[in-house]
């Protein structure tokens, strides 16, 4: 289970980018993190994956703290940022080789896994090309392959639907569901409310750093559409 307890982070004195956020995501759940630009989604995600230092609160994955046990925590996660910055001068295969070695994935099946996901995301012909020749979507696909071969306990994605073609989006959603069914936690941020509404088991709405609503999709939206709930929360501010 992913537990976020009283997480607070500020970049500017007196202004909290994330303000006392508390939420739990159970194993096997797909959690959608929704908010306007600058709401605090990426700040929270970066704190979860350990790329942002924070002073208040705690973030735990299966009891492991990102602050106290960062290496064990990170061994169990795969993170895909909103802008896929990866080594431009490496080939796709060299990047995957790097991931395989860092995560100690030296099992005999790993090559088959890479082949499988490369076919699924239509990357077979480009996998040996340098990453600087890739489009935004292709970089995203490479990162997805590198995440799925890790079989992470927590897959965390920042705006994953940006730049992906319909086929890759469909494949990604299929795989995310499959991983969740196998017990993984999928945590992603998005602006696309229709996708979140159809795809997520649980959802959290964040505004100006504060978590306004969190719960199962039914609990959050009730009889209304997610879009209406989101707009109402904005209007209430």
């Amino acid at each position: 289970m992913l537990k976020i307890k009283n997480f607070t982070k500020s970049y500017v004195k007196g202004v909290n980018a994330a303000d006392n956020i508390t939420l739990n995501v159970e194993d096997g759940e797909i959690f959608g993190f929704i908010g306007h630009n600058g709401a605090g989604k990426t700040t929270t995600i970066k704190a979860i994956v350990g790329t942002l230092d924070f002073d208040q609160g705690e973030i735990l994955l299966d009891g492991l703290s990102i602050k106290n046990d960062p290496l064990l925590f990170k061994q169990r996660i795969a993170y895909i940022p909103d802008y896929p910055e990866i080594y431009n001068n490496l080939t796709g295969m060299q990047y995957l080789d790097f991931i395989v070695n860092i995560y100690n994935l030296n099992s005999s099946a790993i090559n088959e896994e890479i082949k499988k996901y490369a076919v699924e995301f239509e990357m077979t012909s480009a996998i040996n090309d340098e990453i600087n020749t890739y489009s935004h979507g292709m970089r995203q696909k490479l990162l997805l392959i590198s995440a799925f071969i890790r079989k992470p306990k927590l897959l965390i994605l920042d705006e994953p639907f940006t730049g992906l073609d319909p086929n890759a989006t469909f494949k990604m959603k299929q795989l995310m569901r499959q991983f969740a069914d196998e017990g993984a936690i999928i945590f992603f941020s998005t602006h696309i409310l229709e996708v979140a509404e159809k795809f997520c088991d649980t959802v959290g709405i964040i505004r100006n750093g504060r978590l306004m609503k969190v719960g199962t999709m039914q609990e959050v939206k009730g009889d209304k559409s997610l879009e209406n709930v989101f707009m109402e929360l904005l209007d209430h501010e």
């Binding site: 500017v12 290496l71 064990l72 940022p81 910055e85 080594y87 431009n88 001068n89 490496l90 600087n132």
Partner: protein, 527 residues
């Protein structure tokens, strides 16, 4: 430890473009590229080696030759490493695009820092090879010492020397960037500091009689440049206590650096809490013409990248220094009332040569389009003509040339006996040279752009367009010097020779403007 090697492998492939080097296609161009690299590296090593070679002839006591060569070599190496570490450490260590990726992985922060500094160290070993290697070869050639132990220790010094220097100055660079993180005029401060160093160095150089004397002076200042280098020299000369201290110091400082930087790594990349800014400005936009806005934008971009300014303003700073210092040094000759008019014009010709060597040394336009990088789409989609874009880009280079030229020419007017023809020709010559430099730089950048990069310093220092511009400038300088020499055999009137040289540069600039006008649009469209 295995994570370290995987990180280092990736970092080397990424930073040194190893995939391109080992690509199997384009064998001929690769061979040519390697050959060109060898020629350039060979000539640098040869010229540095020749400095060391002549040192024994310049020292009073022959027994001091060995120590003087070592002092000079390690002082030069220290200076190169200090400057390059201060400039590059931030980019290599703390502002990489791979920060999010690496920190989200199960790798110790210390291991990440170790792999990053290793890449920086490898770059510094190249400097060590170029600066220190020739000294050892010269020492062997001249037979200044035949002890095997000396050469064994030299190899050890070679391996250990960069550890402490890179660690200390990388840490200083990190601390400075943390202290000045929210300081509004940080870039201006870096630019002023860099330019002051360049100015002081060149004024000092001009006051010396030859380059070798400068190197000797640098060697004498070794203890002020980097004290552990003194320990290394003493160690090589047989003081094993100093040698021991040198090795221990390097190891301890390196380990300390890894630990401190490992602890600071996360904070340095993600920033600290800053004070809230008071918002009291009203959101009003002043109306301005398109060209004016473009030019303003170009200047803003220029001054926002200190490495860009320091690398491209170098020659423009040297221009007024040269124009003022050379007449001062030649003062006795120029002020001689018995001299004929032509001899006084000859001084203007010398100053014109100074202008060629300084103005064309670098150009802002040779990397200006490359620096647009991922943002080039903005220029390509705004409703302005290509000519307006080119003009705004050339305005930066022309302004810096003009600023240097005005200061220099005022100095010339004061220091050199006034000669209307000579002064007018020199003014036209420098202005034509400025136009030529800006236009040629832009043409070269249009033909050899480097739009994919991670750090601006890679464009400013390591792109093909910069090399091409340098080669073109050398070619022009050689053409002018050869032309003047050839003309002087048949024409005795120096005024006429100078006028012909000026006309040549002016016509070259006009021809380049014509080429840019005719093909610029097409080339820009292809970017």
């Amino acid at each position: 430890m295995s994570n370290y090697f995987h990180l280092l492998k990736v970092s080397l492939i990424e930073n040194f473009h190893l995939n391109k080097v080992f690509k199997r296609d384009k064998i001929i161009s690769k061979i040519l590229f390697v050959l060109l690299g060898f020629v350039i590296a060979g000539s640098v090593v040869f010229s540095i080696g020749s400095v060391y070679y002549f040192i024994p002839m310049m020292v009073a006591n022959p027994n001091e030759a060995l120590e003087t060569i070592l002092n000079t070599a390690l002082s030069i190496v220290s200076l190169i490493m200090i400057v390059s570490t201060l400039l590059q450490a931030k980019g290599f260590l703390f502002k990489g695009n791979d920060f999010d990726l690496l920190v989200s992985m199960p790798i110790k922060l210390k291991t990440i820092v170790l792999s990053k500094i290793s890449t920086l160290l490898i770059a510094n070993y190249v400097g060590m090879l170029v600066g220190f290697g020739p000294a050892i070869v010269v020492i062997a050639m001249l037979g200044l010492t035949t002890k095997i132990m000396f050469y064994v220790l030299a190899v050890l010094i070679f391996l250990f020397f960069p550890l402490a220097i890179v660690s200390v100055f990388a840490l200083i660079s990190l601390l400075f960037s943390n202290i000045f993180r929210n300081f509004k005029y940080k870039n201006l401060l870096i630019i002023i500091f860099g330019l002051t160093l360049i100015t002081v160095y060149f004024i000092y150089s001009f006051s010396m009689n030859s380059n070798n004397v400068i190197f000797l002076e640098i060697g004498k200042a070794i203890e002020y440049i980097y004290y552990p280098a003194v320990l290394a020299v003493n160690g090589l000369l047989g003081n094993y206590l100093h040698l021991g201290i040198f090795f221990v110091l390097n190891i301890i400082l390196f380990i300390l650096f890894i630990n401190i930087a490992g602890k600071l790594y996360l904070k340095s990349n993600t920033g600290s809490v800053r004070k809230a800014k008071k918002i009291n400005k009203t959101l009003t936009i002043a109306k301005s013409s398109q060209t004016k806005v473009l030019i303003k934008n170009e200047f803003k971009k220029y001054f926002s990248i200190p490495q860009y300014v320091i690398n491209t303003i170098f020659g423009k700073v040297l221009l007024p220094i040269g124009l003022i210092v050379i007449p001062m040094q030649m003062g006795g000759l120029a002020l001689d009332p018995t001299m004929s008019l032509d001899i006084n014009v000859f001084i203007y010709l010398i100053l014109a040569l100074v202008a060629v060597l300084t103005v064309t040394l670098s150009s802002t336009t040779s990397v200006t389009l490359s620096l647009e990088g991922r943002q080039l789409w903005i220029l390509k989609t705004i409703p302005v003509s290509t000519k307006q874009i080119f003009l705004s880009k050339m305005a930066v280079d022309l302004s810096t040339t003009l600023a240097g030229a005005v200061i220099g020419l005022v100095g010339v007017a004061i220091l050199v006996p006034f000669n209307l023809i000579g002064f007018s020709l020199l003014t036209i010559f420098i202005l034509s040279l400025g136009v030529h430099n800006a236009v040629l730089g832009l043409i070269i950048n249009l033909k050899f752009p480097k739009l994919k990069w991670d750090l601006p310093v890679r464009v400013v220092k390591q792109s093909l367009s910069v090399l091409m511009h340098m080669l073109a400038s050398f070619a022009l300088a050689i053409l002018l010097v050869m032309g003047v020499l050839l003309l002087s055999k048949t024409i005795s009137n120096i005024n006429l020779i100078f006028a012909m040289a000026t006309a040549f540069v002016l016509l070259t600039a006009i021809a380049e403007i014509f080429v840019l006008n005719k093909y610029g649009d097409k080339w820009f469209g292809r970017l």
